[in-house]
């Protein structure tokens, strides 16, 4: 195994995988200021610069325009510096304690606007819909590949959220294993179903709709609320009200409703927190698991207004200085 191929390594103690992607920076890196976003000039994601990215795997574009040329609304391309590779087998290099294997996977970038916009909250409703259709279609397509056990879609906006390019975009990583956080959720959902014959997330939605003190948006199809035990100030989750395990099977009507709920939530966060850096992650059901249908897909939005520190790294325990009831009241009161 070449030392320069990215590889998966498993911590010998806890069930935590890391990707050692040393070829992303050929030598040990000097530290960088954490709030810095690279101002690539020219921007590889702007329309007109399609030649700067690998060939597109999907684009929503005007009729009669050619692939990898202008005329698109949303464009999906393989990541130029992938943390995982689409080729390679799953062979392990292992001794008694240490497991490693080639970091097999897919790593794509969803470019969310042709012009150089840096804040997703400023996109139009129709652009939101196109972005979410791209998420759905890429997920549906990649789900067919039996090598992938999980597909994660996530966004880093702003330097404090780990963004390295400012042009609005999100990323997709398909993995040959179910990552720890999703597996923990899935195990809990399965246990709850076995105990109560009900979906844990459906129960949570019912509870939030009765209490209402943490709810921000509640439309016909989707609910957005601050969760009961949030890690971050103003953390917000969006869930489909109907039990739906897989994001990849959303209808166009559902996509339109989700676009509205997501756009409204991001606009309210922009007003309340003055355009914060944020991450969001889309959790859909693990792919090759029996009983995946007990899962309930959802989107977790995490504004990054505070640094995670030693206590959190050492314990997996979070200190949050804003109660979710206060955050939700604040978000409901803002006019987006």
């Amino acid at each position: 195994m070449s030392p320069h191929l990215p590889e998966f390594r498993k911590d010998p103690v806890v069930d935590r995988w890391v990707i050692i992607a040393a070829e992303r920076s050929k030598r040990p890196q000097p530290p960088r200021a954490t709030n810095e976003v690279t101002l690539a000039e020219p921007c590889p994601f702007c329309t007109g610069n399609e030649w700067m990215t690998p060939p597109e795997s999907l684009a929503f574009r005007d009729p009669l325009t050619r692939a990898d040329s202008p005329g698109w609304q949303v464009r999906v391309v393989p990541n130029k510096y992938p943390a995982v590779l689409g080729t390679g087998d799953l062979c392990h290099r292992t001794n008694t304690l240490y497991q490693a294997k080639i970091a097999l996977g897919a790593h794509e970038v969803i470019i969310e606007n042709p012009a150089h916009c840096v804040d997703m909250g400023e996109l139009t409703d129709s652009q939101f819909q196109t972005v979410l259709r791209a998420y759905r279609d890429r997920m549906a397509e990649l789900q067919k590949d039996k090598r992938w056990h999980h597909i994660l879609i996530f966004k880093n906006q702003g330097g404090a959220a780990g963004a390295t390019l400012e042009h609005v975009h999100s990323q997709l990583i398909a993995l040959p294993m179910v990552p720890r956080e999703v597996d923990d959720e899935w195990q809990a959902v399965k246990a709850h179903y076995q105990r109560c014959q009900r979906c844990l997330y459906c129960d949570m939605i019912d509870e939030e709709r009765i209490l209402r003190n943490r709810v921000i948006v509640d439309n016909h199809e989707f609910i957005a609320f601050c969760p009961f035990a949030p890690r971050f100030p103003f953390e917000t989750w969006i869930l489909p009200r109907k039990h739906t395990p897989f994001f990849g099977f959303l209808s166009d009507t559902e996509v339109a409703q989700l676009a509205r709920a997501l756009r409204e939530t991001l606009c309210r966060l922009n007003v309340a927190l003055n355009h914060p850096s944020f991450n969001y992650v889309l959790h859909s059901a693990p792919l090759q698991k029996m009983q995946g249908e007990h899962y309930h897909w959802h989107l977790e939005i995490m504004p990054r207004t505070t640094e995670v520190a030693g206590f959190e790294w050492g314990s997996g325990f979070y200190i949050n200085t804003v109660a979710p009831e206060d955050a939700a009241r604040n978000l409901r009161a803002t006019m987006p």
Copy 2:
């Protein structure tokens, strides 16, 4: 239960606790620049300003000097803005889904130098020894209180590591439960012992001492190495070579050897990464668990040169662009 008391809340899905400490900031906060460290003027940790902190719970000080007055080398005081409280019962507020209880605990600050030093790596060897003696003595003292199931000591140095005051200090939090990360480690150690009748960390030390490609410091009592599957570039762990579950029972000789290993490691990191922000956490055995003696205490040092982003939050999976073998080679080559 007053809404202003800090409270523990458990995520309804995964086994993740958070502390909602809303009284630490009475209202929802505006975002702050993440690299900012408050320049408190005057600094409450400088000698001469002892009146600015709560009364000391421990100090190493010159003979004939009085508590809470100058003449100390290291001083331990209760945190003025505690995330947990020393009083309160363990009563739960709970419904079917949601659990909450008063955030009972102890939260102390270890002030590591009387003069205004901002970089632990610049302290003398004797000052390091006094700091570590303070850690040990406070841990040994708090271990006697049967309410505490775990005591975590951690340090945040620099704005990117979440420090809010720059004067060198670390923190101690005693908790009435074993946090997720420590419990996961402990479960793994216990399982390994049941399988092999050996300590997992002792096995890891043996392996690293044979391979040597990730070792940085290896003195008679302690070893420092970059772990096989590190979350962060240049992440480094320090472990006692002898199987020792509890940090609180260290001898003075061991404290002196640990001081040397820790100081050398921090100095090498300072040279290699140009004085990075960093966190460290000290993991000692859970207190009220049977078979706690299978655990092996250790210190995890995490330089914070990159931001943690959506992929990591969503998966518990880390992307690391520096292989630990490269980081260790680099750290061995630096002259501290």
